[in-house]
Symmetry: C2
Subunit: 284 residues, 2 copies
């Protein structure tokens, strides 16, 4: 069997949006740290599915015995960038029992009557779970900034509130993985046209997508500002080039694997007397 | 490529717990309607994963355009019978975005202060979703009957309430699939011992399992009474022999596929002018 190509450099380093990071400098077509092509990438994804599932089961098992560790994967992107594909093909490899997925839509009137973090707090992952946010509280500093739905002062307040919120989650056992899937303007166009050309994809198309597309440059500026203000040591941002779907998937898989490994997960020790229980079962 | 063995007779018929059904007559080792063995069964499961995922996507898509159809899979079984495996390996093939999984545990004090269906109603699937109940309102006529936590009159009231509840769900778009995974007493013993012999499975073992095991015959009587009282045309029970995990998985997969097919799902027609949207995208 051919050796499967692995990463030369781990995406947790190469894709981090730390000090001096400029979104405009990233090529959405690139595949940082990965020397292989599409078929290599697909093989790697399949190869590591089982490893990810086993780590997730350990995380789940620890919580059954009082562990408080958990993961929160936050996915942000322009429309068509592939958030759904990440959920289906990367998150989908894990046992549904250990995954807590929330797709945030436009807030309801009730949600709008509270602080923006009110509806988010209710969806944070329970101990042992892998939480996944498909969109998140970052909408409140992205679309709100782009459309002017909040004042600059309010946006600044939200950056601070987000950092405090994420630090609190981290303090209570959550490993946060923030991902922006980075596609190019041209790639979005191609994907929108592909949706229109395939009747089985019409349901994914919304003319609202075109409206947001018109604000492309403003969105890129809003993302840059979000990275500048909310990339922290405990909750770093990763910008994943996403013109190649296969690359985005293996990169996010690597980020999740790393997050799990950082948690030093172990199968919990039995809190019962194994030999005694064995003899009790034997007797039944 | 070898032809993959398929079912001779569909489990939706052969496994139904209708008039005259006697749980005691079912062999948990049997593989009704399926002529193949384990490797055939595993190949069939993998083969049909994609079909199930596509149907589930259609279900999800319909709801985006106002459809009200949805699925509710109810899983009941003695401990170790393989509910978790069904969730991981059958449900897990579908996109997590379209699955709404709820594992019902012992009710909280707040939940106990309401009618038993109060906490269930909150977890019924939204339009377009595949809801999965890992345990359910049936606990209230199973363990409650076995342990005498409810009077015979109250159990009778609950059967009626369940039938009305499930009919109401059906009237509002839900296709209900009720499954009892049927393992033998000996097989449970073997599986409990296997959990004790593998440190990576200790977290799945609970000495409480042994307590319920002591009531085995009472549980079988309670299941029989549940089938007698709540097997209805709109919400039939299926008793799936489950000593062979691979068989239980392909049988439940078939039941889900049939439920999807009964819904006559179609990709929703575009509510927008495709040519116009195409030209608008081209211009951006």
């Amino acid at each position: 069997m051919a050796r499967i190509e692995t990463f030369d450099e781990h995406p947790s380093g190469t894709l981090a949006a730390g000090d001096g990071f400029k979104l405009a400098d990233v090529d959405p077509d690139s595949t940082p740290g990965y020397p292989g092509g599409k078929s290599d990438g697909q093989a790697l994804l399949a190869e590591l599915d089982g490893k990810l599932a086993t780590l997730q089961e350990k995380l789940f098992a620890e919580a059954k015995f009082g562990g408080s560790k958990r993961i929160l994967l936050i996915l942000q992107a322009m429309d068509t960038a592939g958030k759904g594909g990440i959920v289906a093909h990367v998150v989908g490899a894990m046992d549904p029992q250990g995954v807590q997925l929330k797709a945030f839509k436009a807030p309801t009137d009730e949600e709008k009557s509270y602080d923006f973090l009110w509806r988010i707090e209710k969806e944070v992952p329970a101990a042992g779970m892998v939480g996944v946010f498909d969109r998140s509280h970052y909408e409140d500093v992205l679309i709100h900034r782009v459309r002017g739905w909040a004042s600059p002062q309010e946006i600044e307040r939200r950056y601070v509130a987000i950092n405090e919120f994420e630090a609190r989650l981290t303090d209570t056992g959550t490993k946060i993985v923030k991902v922006m899937l980075n596609i190019s303007r041209d790639e979005q166009k191609a994907r929108l046209l592909a949706r229109l050309d395939d009747p089985s994809k019409h349901w994914k198309y919304s003319s609202g997508d075109l409206k947001e597309r018109a604000f492309w440059d403003d969105y890129m500026a809003a993302y840059q500002a979000a990275f500048d203000n909310t990339h922290t040591e405990v909750a770093p941002w990763h910008v994943v080039p996403a013109n190649k779907k296969w690359y985005a998937r293996i990169a996010v898989q690597q980020l999740l694997l790393q997050a799990m490994e950082d948690l030093n997960l172990e199968w919990p020790a039995a809190e019962f007397d194994v030999a005694l229980e064995r003899s009790l079962v034997e007797r039944t």
